[in-house]
Symmetry: D2
Subunit: 340 residues, 4 copies
């Protein structure tokens, strides 16, 4: 495999680990981050640490390839704008972050006017990617994707021990190595966005299921219909031969084995842009997406003590029925099933 040179901008956990995996694969990396610490650490591991974007560009041999791994939105936008002013025709920018796909479409068009190539690469793998490899969803021109193929091949997990899907002979072999050229610019992040939307839905499916399992012990239920279930064991047994076998289940089993009450978690759940954009895409396409949307909304709800909506409900109930809702303290009926 050809070894390439890559510039990496943004050395957070994801960016730094991408560099490490590339260097392990024999590629050479020039790195930059506003914070000098991660670059220094990577320099110890063999990377060239640039002091600025300009220095990074200078340290790369044309045709250059610079991978931007920054938070979506302003940070990415600014870095790409600055790079555009420093790079030369024939150079390429890769946005490996979680950008909104319509921003990719726009940026690709703008950069093309300057003779710069642009790829958007949805990158899945989280904290596990360094060892397991990253699942890559790539948007952009085929020749640019081909030029950077050694980079993608190194970052991706490869075929591994995963059984082949029957009936794929004749199809693009890169896909089975864990990287996909999805289509033109924007399509990489589009596919990654949907991936995350599905992820939300799957997570919520497990979350609701375990919530019902846990509340099977609720003292509000008749004794003969009450069960104290070992959630850690339930998750574990499903890992073997059941239909819901999945990596998310593996992670759940690990968390529940540690603490079946999950007491250390606040229950306050963040959402990133992809979940929201997935719903937006569904609406633009008039595709009903009940589950993906419901999964997003439970996260919104998790971050509030009480919604204003709920107060409106209470106000109406008082209005037509004279119902005075119990105060929060008085109404702490939410069952807390004692396990064991």
């Amino acid at each position: 495999m050809t070894h390439l040179q890559l510039g990496m901008v943004g050395l957070g956990r994801m960016g730094a680990n991408l560099v490490r995996r590339l260097m392990r694969g024999g590629h050479s990396c020039v790195v930059f981050d506003r914070d000098p610490a991660p670059g220094a650490a990577l320099a110890d591991e063999g990377a060239t640490n640039a002091g600025s974007l300009a220095a990074l560009v200078k340290a790369l041999t044309p045709p250059r390839a610079v991978w931007v791994m920054l938070p979506a939105g302003k940070a990415t936008e600014q870095a790409i704008a600055e790079l555009a002013g420093l790079l030369e025709p024939g150079d390429a920018i890769v946005d490996g972050g979680n950008s909104f796909w319509k921003d990719d479409v726009r940026r690709a068009r703008e950069l093309a006017r300057r003779g710069l190539d642009y790829l958007d690469v949805g990158t899945s793998g989280g904290v596990w990617g360094l060892e397991r490899g990253y699942c890559l969803m790539i948007g952009g021109d085929a020749d640019v994707v081909a030029r950077l193929d050694p980079i993608f091949a190194t970052l991706a997990p490869g075929r591994g021990a995963i059984p082949a899907t029957p009936g794929r002979s004749g199809r693009d072999p890169r896909v089975e190595m864990g990287y996909l050229h999805a289509g033109p610019c924007g399509s990489g992040h589009f596919v990654k966005m949907i991936h995350n939307g599905i992820e939300y839905g799957m997570m919520q499916a497990f979350a609701e299921g375990f919530d019902i399992l846990r509340h099977a012990a609720s003292p509000a239920l008749p004794v003969e219909h009450r069960f104290h279930l070992e959630l850690a064991d339930v998750a574990e047994v499903w890992r073997r031969g059941s239909v819901v076998t999945s990596w998310l289940l593996d992670l759940t089993a690990t968390a529940l084995a540690e603490d079946g009450e999950l007491a250390s978690y606040s229950g306050h759940v963040e959402d990133s842009g992809e979940g929201r954009w997935t719903v937006q895409a569904a609406i633009e396409e008039a595709v009903p997406a009940e589950v993906l949307t419901a999964a997003l909304y439970t996260r919104f709800r998790s971050r509030q003590d009480h919604t204003f909506a709920e107060k409106v409900l209470s106000a109406m109930r008082k209005g037509f029925g004279g119902h005075v809702e119990p105060t929060k303290a008085a109404a702490a009926v939410s069952p807390d099933p004692a396990h064991g």
Copy 2:
């Protein structure tokens, strides 16, 4: 109109007001409640206060009619069982509470074996019924409904100022008076149950709408896309010529005029059986009922600080992404739009 004699068991707000409306209409009432206070008060207004169910039955002239207005479930079940032992063939029991309709079907069959008639009457009207009249949905045999017609006619709102629906000529005239003989036993509470299910959905529609209106002032939004709206005025203007004109909107307008923040409400929202049974009926019939169900679930959610489901989400997020969810205190990002 013929004046009848009715026994009323259960003198909570609903039961007591039914008695008052009946007495205003010229009917005579024998009343009973475990708590002697409300019966004494009604005696002052002209009712006969019985000291026991047996005394109530004795005070009524056969064929008797006893209206049970108690909480659904045990209280109603026991009162009807006891009455069944006291009444004679030809007497009738009316369950005006919020019983589960399948209980009506069962009870009607059991009581029929003793020669007792049974009607289930869904009663809507809440605190306003005494003045406005009660919307009645009646299940049972036609001749029993006919026998008690003067009772229903008095309790119902009557035609009032409500414009006639075109195309109803030839249809059952009682309906326009505000009482409906829906069908056999169980159908009265079935129709009332669906009424409440719809009520949940409508309430939630308004609740969400006003929540979005309120959060239009969220500081998280760009300044040029931020509005401080007077929710009381929005509700008020919609009462006039808009499509969402409704009694629930009237009540919302009143509550918001009192306090646009609804600060006195905890946001803890109870649900009664009907909302749950509506979903159960939908599932038994394989009818998708997304909105009615979602409305029920927001109430479940409103009564918990955090669901276990949300903790499962956080645990997974930590597992695959190393995300540590902010603690509740640190993450109080929920916008609290300052009005004015």
Copy 3:
């Protein structure tokens, strides 16, 4: 009341009826539509029919006010752009259509640079507005709203027979006449958008409820739990004293009185922009809007024979369980309850 002169662009049902209601109120109208027919008709009723936008502008005395009543999007955008080139500083454009509120924000800023005023007016009332009046939600500068007050006062329903909401003394009296100055530009259409979002949710609540009522007759249910309900009567009785009393219920009662099977309706349900934008606003504000979103999605679903999603489900079921879904013909199990 002062009588004003107004230009009306777009003479569809809404535009034409607005003109009629204004002329009945003593205002004079100059009208234009690409299609000459409606303008000619209105000319017979007293309007001045202009042959072009330029002619319309010429026929108005400064400071002019031109109300644009066109489909949201391109048609409105183009008409306003053309008008902007014809009008003079101090003139005002009113967008009374169903524009996206962010377009209003942008247009107001652009027009302000030319010295033109801009109001966005959400207009509810449909086919009934001519007689009942239109519920108006207005965004823009207070002085422009004040200048055109006679127009709004004439179009709005006025106080009518609607009982006053308690506790409104001291509040803006225009609201009780049926028109609201909601805030700066964009807020009029924002409030109207949420109105329509709520409308979707309420409609869906009724729709699901009546669907469950109808399927209570399903032959798949046990005989003793099966009811043949007269839906027209159910809707009618709820109009009197129930909690779900509303204009939408009135309309439902009328439709069901005409045909309890609603056989003339295909069940294919359109959605307009407002339902979608409401969900978008909810997501931007991180407000959970389960019911409003579910209501939108059922409309998306109603316009497809089968979703691709459903085929994916079938493919998975075949994969893990060997399930072969019945063909559509074989599986027509959807109960068609015979009434009577």
Copy 4:
């Protein structure tokens, strides 16, 4: 491992394959089915084919164990009732089907009065179980579970190549072999029910995601925001290193590799009892289960051409807006993206 003797009642695909896996494991099986064909086939493979339930019972040595593998409901109920009359105290009945868990609770109590043991065993594995093993969720008394342990150990997948979950030392080792003693009678089917509920949610998450991906090619979208995605490749790449890695994704990848249009599937999706009972359990416990419920409802919807609910919507829209919904033919706007 001790080899046991087991009676199997019900020789459909599941029952027959359970027998095969048991015989491969060295156990001896006596089998019965109303249809003589599958029993004859199994006899060729070494089973004893009984001509009746009575013959089956006679062919077993006490203490007997009879596994019932029949459709939930009547078939299972009758078989167990008949077996109860044939078996002797100390014998055990195992219900391995998809019974409603409350039926198990009731049956266990009834059978205990006759001195019969009862286990409910949720069995996951479908057409793959014979080779991969079955994931078993068992409810009942610990000593009965222990007595039949060799049966469960043989049916379950065993540890296989699945990486161990960290932190499980000291926990029940059977779980990692793929079978779980969940708790008292009913809990086995309860856990299996939730498994299927989660399965519905996960399936729907994937289904919606792929629907959005497919409609990214919709001609209704702006050209620059339109993608023709190879769904088979998207599914395949996600199998490697992504967060949504799962067996359901493997199956989807296989189906899409075969035909990216899934043209052979009608989109008519059945649901079995577990999905419905999961929602029922959620409601009994007051646990919000938005995603699991939405997943159920899309299946209900998939089996209808148009819901009555949708006709109600159309009727209202005509009522307030004069909207006449397009006929189905005229409105076939559902985009059918041409791939390639």
